[in-house]
């Protein structure tokens, strides 16, 4: 085979549904033979869609899936040497356990005694010896899950796909099955591709984690990488608890954020806008006279192995995990070691969107005329007595040929729940929010398909329908050629 040990490669996989929704865009991944890879992300991030494309239930709109170097992206599921463990098990209710597990082998026309031998062996593997003649409905959720795993494994697939297989089990059972699955993986040496939204599950089991959001890969790495060196604010927020602050580099390996000055280990040029991630367990509570930042304890929650302490420091709220308790109202100092700070170069959050020129020769966005001077924007232009816009040669400008973009900063946009407000330029729903220490950063999906990033100090809910008030005097217009 000689393709650097990769059993499966996904190249520029994109899935766009008929309604234009892009579930997965430009997904690239290489999986080594025998690896345990986990797709991790919130619901709707495209992880299950990607798995379904590997299984063959969905076909990618673009891109190739190479299995041992051969393109299988258009093959039906029954032609792929890949088996799936489904989210709700999908055991056949009209068959007993033996018939369920033997389904794939019978399909291959295997001799009967060989089928019987293989089924017995795989039942042993999942600890269900003697369950052959039980019916599906007499089994507990955990047992059904084992049967589902056995039914897939008995076909000796090259890759086993698991779609949130432990989602329906209770916590204790889930923990047990996590370890068992991991042991099974190590024993069989089959490549596992696992889908979950549970970050702890992903960190426990995987060799490699693919963090996804809104159809795109956010980060690929080992569990340690993902946890310690998150690639962006989304990954930091999604994996584990984090304090996320906006800040700036003030010197070599020196950063200012959360109202304090910190020494860090990341070498980022001075003056760079940054996002700093500090894990709650990396913050040490000290006396009020010490530490880089100070504040007042506003809540203490006992969590079993540690206390979760929230401290108000200026405009910021800092979450700390500590084995030592604190009293609400205490003045405390907080200290963070350099290697407890993860610095990321801040993504540019400026919203850029296209505006049109309408027949009246005015700029327009989403049906609203923007009261701004076009004669200043288009050099040498002027208006005639009919208010038409003429270019420097005195020709009437064709609105179709003018392309203008507008830029607005997240903090300049205001949200309102009164979408009928006349100042509302466009409405949309909140699809994502991240707490940034002293404000929330929201992603608003609008009906135009354009996403807006809005900063707001108040907490709104995911899925809220909001109107965006975008002040025209804060917009920066650029003429595009």
């Amino acid at each position: 085979m000689g393709n650097n040990g990769n059993i499966i490669e996904l190249k520029h996989i994109t899935k766009v549904y008929e309604d234009g929704f892009a579930a997965v865009s430009d997904f690239n991944l290489e999986v080594k033979r025998g690896e345990f890879v986990t797709f991790l992300g919130p619901s709707g991030c495209g992880k299950t869609t990607t798995l379904r494309m590997i299984a063959g239930f969905d076909l990618p709109t673009e891109g190739d899936i190479l299995l041992n170097g051969k393109d299988i992206s258009q093959l039906p599921p029954n032609m792929r040497p890949i088996n799936t463990v489904f989210q709700r098990y999908a055991l056949f209710p009209h068959m007993n356990i033996f018939e369920n597990i033997a389904f794939g082998l019978k399909q291959k026309k295997m001799p009967k005694d060989e089928i019987r031998r293989k089924v017995r062996k795989v039942l042993e593997l999942v600890d269900l010896e003697g369950f052959e003649h039980r019916s599906v409905s007499t089994l507990s959720g955990g047992q059904q899950q084992r049967v589902a795993i056995a039914r897939a494994l008995v076909n000796e697939p090259e890759i086993l796909l698991l779609d949130e297989p432990l989602g329906a089990l209770d916590l204790k059972m889930r923990k047990e099955m996590q370890l068992e699955l991991k042991a099974m993986h190590d024993e069989l040496g089959i490549t596992f591709i696992y889908v979950t939204h549970d970050q702890e599950e992903a960190l426990t089991m995987s060799d490699k984690i693919v963090v996804m959001s809104e159809g795109k890969i956010q980060q690929i790495g080992t569990p340690e990488d993902i946890y310690n060196e998150p690639a962006n604010a989304f990954v930091a927020d999604f994996i584990g608890e984090s304090n996320i602050f906006n800040g700036i580099m003030t010197g070599p390996m020196k950063a200012r954020f959360a109202g304090g000055e910190f020494v860090c280990v990341d070498d980022v040029p001075e003056g760079t806008q940054i996002t700093a991630v500090v894990r709650p367990e990396d913050i040490v509570l000290t006396g009020p006279e010490r530490g880089q930042i100070r504040g007042r304890v506003i809540s203490v929650i006992f969590k079993g192995i540690h206390y979760e302490i929230t401290v108000e420091s200026g405009r910021y709220e800092v979450v700390i995990q500590s084995t030592k308790s604190a009293k609400v109202g205490d003045q405390v100092g907080m200290e963070v070691e350099p290697d407890g700070i993860h610095i990321m170069i801040a993504e540019d959050h400026t919203n850029v969107f296209n505006v049109d020129m309408n027949r009246n020769h005015r700029l327009e966005f989403n049906g609203t005329e923007l009261n701004t001077s076009l004669t200043q924007l288009i050099r040498g232009s002027h208006r005639n007595e009919n208010h038409e816009l003429l270019d420097e040669n005195g020709e009437v400008i064709d609105p179709e040929k003018v392309r203008v973009t507008a830029a607005i900063e997240p903090q300049d946009i205001r949200m309102t729940d009164d979408t009928d407000d006349e100042n509302v330029l466009i409405e949309g729903t909140i699809s994502n929010l991240i707490y940034k220490g002293d404000h929330y950063s929201y992603v608003i999906n609008t009906e135009l398909g354009q996403d807006f990033i809005v900063d707001d100090e108040y907490l709104w809910n995911m899925g809220d329908l909001v109107g965006l008030i975008i002040p025209i005097d804060k917009m920066r217009f650029t003429l595009k050629k």
């Binding site: 063959g56 599921p77 029954n78 088996n83 056949f92 389904f103």
Partner: protein
């Protein structure tokens, strides 16, 4: 005033006594008595010795079986296509199948009669065929709906699982979809087969001179032979009970999948 479970149940109890228990008792009484009010099993022996009644029973079974088979043959593909397609106008198409049920029964059959007359020339030429066509037309929705409901509720991941395990579309259908739609088929069959044995109004309206069990009972009662008529009704009741018992094994399965019926 407070309503207890018991007080709320009174209207239903009254209904059951008046319209179910009492008529059944009357039926039993007439079936096992003669004109003088004496107990007799004569009516029963008459039924099984009279070639006329036995012939009618056989003919009715034949019509019912043919009707059911034809309904199933038409309904299953229709229900399957409707349930598995991603048509946006799905509910409209289902409504089109069901809509004849909302049109007056006699109007429907009269229309059918006119059409058949145009095609066949004289309705009397094909009494058996016309009976089956009329009944199929009348009962088709009762076959489509339960089958549609069973298939539409099938967990799509089961079919995906079958394909995942190496089955192609055809194999997945015969090994998973079809066996799992049996409850809907049983529901549909029992809703078509039994009425088809007795619904003689369809035949009457199609100027059909053939007799089925319903017409036989009707003729006994119009000749004031209440005892013989009751016995025939009772025998039919027995057949229905037997049929229900035979398909009873499916009933629990049906209830588990949420009831295939409507």
């Amino acid at each position: 005033m407070k309503f207890s479970r018991k007080t709320l149940g009174i209207p239903y109890a009254v209904f059951l006594v008046l319209f179910v228990a009492a008529p059944l008792l009357v039926l039993f009484y007439y079936a096992f008595t003669n004109g003088q009010g004496q107990f007799t099993v004569q009516n029963l022996t008459d039924f099984f010795t009279d070639p006329n009644t036995l012939g009618t029973l056989f003919y009715s079974l034949l019509i019912a079986a043919a009707t059911t088979a034809l309904c199933l043959l038409l309904a299953y593909p229709a229900a399957y296509i409707l349930a598995t397609s991603r048509l946006k106008a799905k509910s409209v198409i289902i409504m089109i199948f069901v809509m004849p049920m909302w049109i007056n029964f006699s109007l429907r059959i009269t229309a059918l009669k006119e059409i058949l007359t145009v095609i066949e020339g004289n309705l009397a030429f094909y009494p058996f065929l016309n009976s089956v066509i009329g009944m199929t037309y009348d009962f088709l929705p009762f076959m489509i709906l339960p089958i549609y409901n069973t298939i539409v509720r099938l967990d799509g991941s089961l079919i995906e699982a079958a394909k995942d395990l190496g089955a192609n579309d055809r194999q997945a259908f015969f090994r998973v979809t079809l066996p799992l739609s049996v409850p809907g088929i049983v529901s549909g069959v029992s809703m078509v087969f039994l009425p088809a044995m007795t619904n003689y109004v369809v035949l009457d309206m199609l100027y059909n001179n053939t007799y089925i069990m319903g017409s036989l009972i009707g003729s006994y009662f119009s000749a004031y032979n209440w005892h013989g008529g009751s016995m025939i009704a009772l025998v039919l009741l027995g057949i229905i009970c037997l049929f229900t018992l035979l398909t009873g094994g499916m009933e629990t399965e049906d209830a588990r999948t949420g009831g295939a019926l409507l």
